[in-house]
């Protein structure tokens, strides 16, 4: 019994010593460099990889340290929240985040506020009403107007179909502000054209293989589809493989969103008609740039729109 008690006591004392030493360490660690953290939804999507590259470029040229972290999957909101909490512990100077959940991350934003770490929201909006209710705030939103993007895509489809035809839609994760906004814009524009019928609209959760399966099923149920609007390129690319498998390449107009490089290649080759380009690289770059400005106590606008444009073969 004696040996046991002594050892436990020893471990506890050691622990307290370590804690103490750590405290001193932290006080003596000055911010050698400003550190900007960038929390993405996921790194499994070329869109966010482009964003990362833009962020890295900005961090390089401004000589600040950049930490990029992401959850394994876009669906994992809790992990993103945990990452933010851990970065707060790390005492980063600013946090840029592309929220996986427009409401679910509010807790994280509030915590960052309490730790006096500025928060920049990138690409996907956070629910401002609920945020203010919780007493939180953020420094700025950097992103595209997704509603507008959806509208542009719809208008393009209407034009190419001459105002008449069957359209299918692949949606993002329900409840994601990005996807919801794109759909909103899309539907607004489509509804102005009564002879365009949306025959199917389902979610493929932003993922490529789900895009394949869901669209394949849509084709089965609706043999006559003239155009497809996918809320992101990954789903569009998956759907295109389903189209090829059905031997209908060229018969169906495919419009994606994000204009990642695979999509651009497909557009060049004529397999895809168009994609709404978001300039993620620019988003990443501007986000880090503005983050540094905020750290250096300059004022930044509450919203920084990044241009959106439709990329088609002609434009390339």
């Amino acid at each position: 019994m004696i040996g046991f008690k002594r050892i436990t006591l020893f471990v506890l004392i050691l622990f307290l010593i370590m804690l103490n030493v750590n405290c001193q360490r932290r006080r003596s660690v000055t911010e050698d460099r400003e550190t900007v953290a960038f929390v993405m939804k996921t790194l499994n999507n070329p869109f966010f990889i482009d964003m990362q590259r833009g962020a890295e470029k900005a961090a390089d040229s401004l000589r600040v340290k950049l930490i990029v972290q992401a959850a394994e999957r876009e669906v994992d909101v809790e992990k993103q929240l945990q990452i933010i909490e851990n970065l707060i512990q790390r005492r980063v100077s600013a946090i840029c985040v592309t929220p996986s959940g427009s409401r679910e991350l509010i807790a994280g934003v509030v915590k960052a506020n309490l730790a006096k770490i500025p928060v920049l929201i990138v690409d996907t909006r956070i629910d401002v009403e609920t945020l203010t209710e919780s007493g939180g705030h953020f420094a700025t939103f950097i992103g595209s107007d997704n509603v507008d993007g959806g509208r542009i895509a719809a208008k393009y489809i209407v034009e190419r179909l001459n105002g008449n035809g069957n359209v299918a839609v692949l949606e993002g994760i329900p409840g994601h502000e990005t996807g919801d906004a794109r759909l909103k814009g899309f539907w607004e524009a489509i509804n102005e054209n009564p002879r365009i019928r949306v025959v199917a609209s389902q979610t493929a959760n932003w993922e490529r293989d789900q895009g394949y399966n869901v669209f394949q099923n849509m084709l089965q149920a609706n043999p006559q589809i003239d155009a497809l609007f996918a809320c992101n390129d990954m789903m569009a690319l998956g759907a295109m493989e389903a189209i090829a498998a059905a031997g209908k390449t060229g018969d169906i107009l495919v419009v994606g969103f994000d204009a990642v490089s695979d999509a651009r290649k497909a557009i060049e080759r004529g397999q895809m008609a168009a994609s709404v380009a978001q300039h993620p690289y620019e988003m990443g770059f501007v986000a880090v740039k503005k983050a540094v400005e905020i750290i250096r106590e300059k004022k930044v606008p509450k919203e920084i729109p990044i241009t959106i444009e439709l990329i088609t073969r002609e434009k390339m």
Partner: protein
């Protein structure tokens, strides 16, 4: 060594796991000053709590010779039902009871399929994984239910005597769980059924009923975890909990619960869950790329099981 002999046979394996945890803490303490701070440690505890709670149920199930792959989906379903109840105006306590009951019911269905239907646990819970997920999606139409009262969210975000409430809940459940496992009929029967089901039957153990109870417990604990997650994110998502079963199984296995059944202790599972929480937290703070994080965590799980098997072979 004399000290080792002082510890009852049952607990020796857990000592090894504990040393592993302490070793990890030591490593991270050395590598970064942001790790061993009181606020970060509390962070880890809060972040680990959800997985740790699910892992309690899974430990029971694995000790009884089974497995439960449906915990993540049961969590989602229980979560959205709780949210629905809250939104209907049902008081917090009532909604929680409803959520936990939904979890218990799903688990009980697993138990029936396995005990009376003679389905292998892997298959039955795999099926429930899909069914519960589908039920959650149906219940909400695919969208998350968000926005709850401050008092509800206090469950996850609040503190009591400067410790987060989820930590109290987690410790409380572990204490109760340990008691049930080691000092009640349920626990004794779980070890018997998992140790040698045939001998248990021949000793008059009502195997079928207790399998139902044990799987029900797993479901109920998923329900409790669901409540905490919903409060934390302020949102009940039908897509919540994906892959949570793996983290829970990993916690149990690292903690010394044998997948063959009949062996295991909750204290080990808690240490296992903490090891995973510490790993994720430490790697986040060090800014290590998410891809490497995944690899490291997987490696730790494999190492833990290898060491476990090695120790068992030496005993023979």
């Amino acid at each position: 060594m004399q000290l080792i002999e002082r510890i009852p046979v049952y607990y020796r394996r857990q000592l090894g796991t504990l040393l592993g945890l302490l070793g990890l803490i030591l490593i991270f303490w050395i590598m970064t000053p942001y790790f061993l701070t009181p606020s970060n440690l509390l962070n880890i505890a809060r972040q680990t709590s959800i997985n740790a709670i699910i892992a309690i149920g899974l430990t029971f199930v694995i000790i009884a010779g089974g497995i439960d792959l449906s915990v993540g989906s049961m969590l989602a379903f229980a979560g959205v039902v709780t949210a629905g109840a809250l939104n209907l105006g049902i008081p917090i306590l009532g909604s929680m009871i409803i959520g936990i009951s939904v979890g218990f019911l799903c688990g009980a269905v697993n138990g029936v399929l396995i005990a009376w239907g003679h389905l292998p646990p892997f298959i039955a819970t795999l099926g429930m994984m899909s069914i519960a997920r589908g039920a959650a999606l149906l219940f909400t139409g695919g969208r998350p239910i968000s926005g709850f009262s401050v008092s509800f969210r206090f469950l996850a975000e609040g503190d009591f005597l400067s410790l987060p409430i989820p930590v109290y809940i987690m410790i409380g459940l572990y204490v109760v769980g340990h008691f049930v496992l080691t000092r009640t009929k349920i626990g004794r029967y779980a070890y018997a059924i998992g140790g040698n089901e045939e001998a248990a039957v021949l000793s008059g153990v009502p195997v079928k009923i207790y399998k139902l109870i044990i799987y029900g417990i797993s479901g109920a604990l998923s329900g409790i975890a669901a409540i905490l997650l919903t409060a934390r994110l302020n949102s009940a998502q039908p897509i919540a909990g994906i892959m949570y079963e793996l983290d829970a199984i990993a916690a149990a296995v690292i903690g010394g619960t044998s997948l063959m059944g009949g062996e295991g202790l909750l204290i080990g599972t808690l240490i296992g869950a903490l090891i995973m929480g510490v790993l994720r937290n430490g790697l986040n703070i060090l800014g290590i790329s998410s891809f490497i994080q995944q690899t490291i965590i997987g490696t730790v799980i494999i190492l833990a099981v290898l060491i476990d098997m090695f120790l068992k072979r030496r005993k023979k």
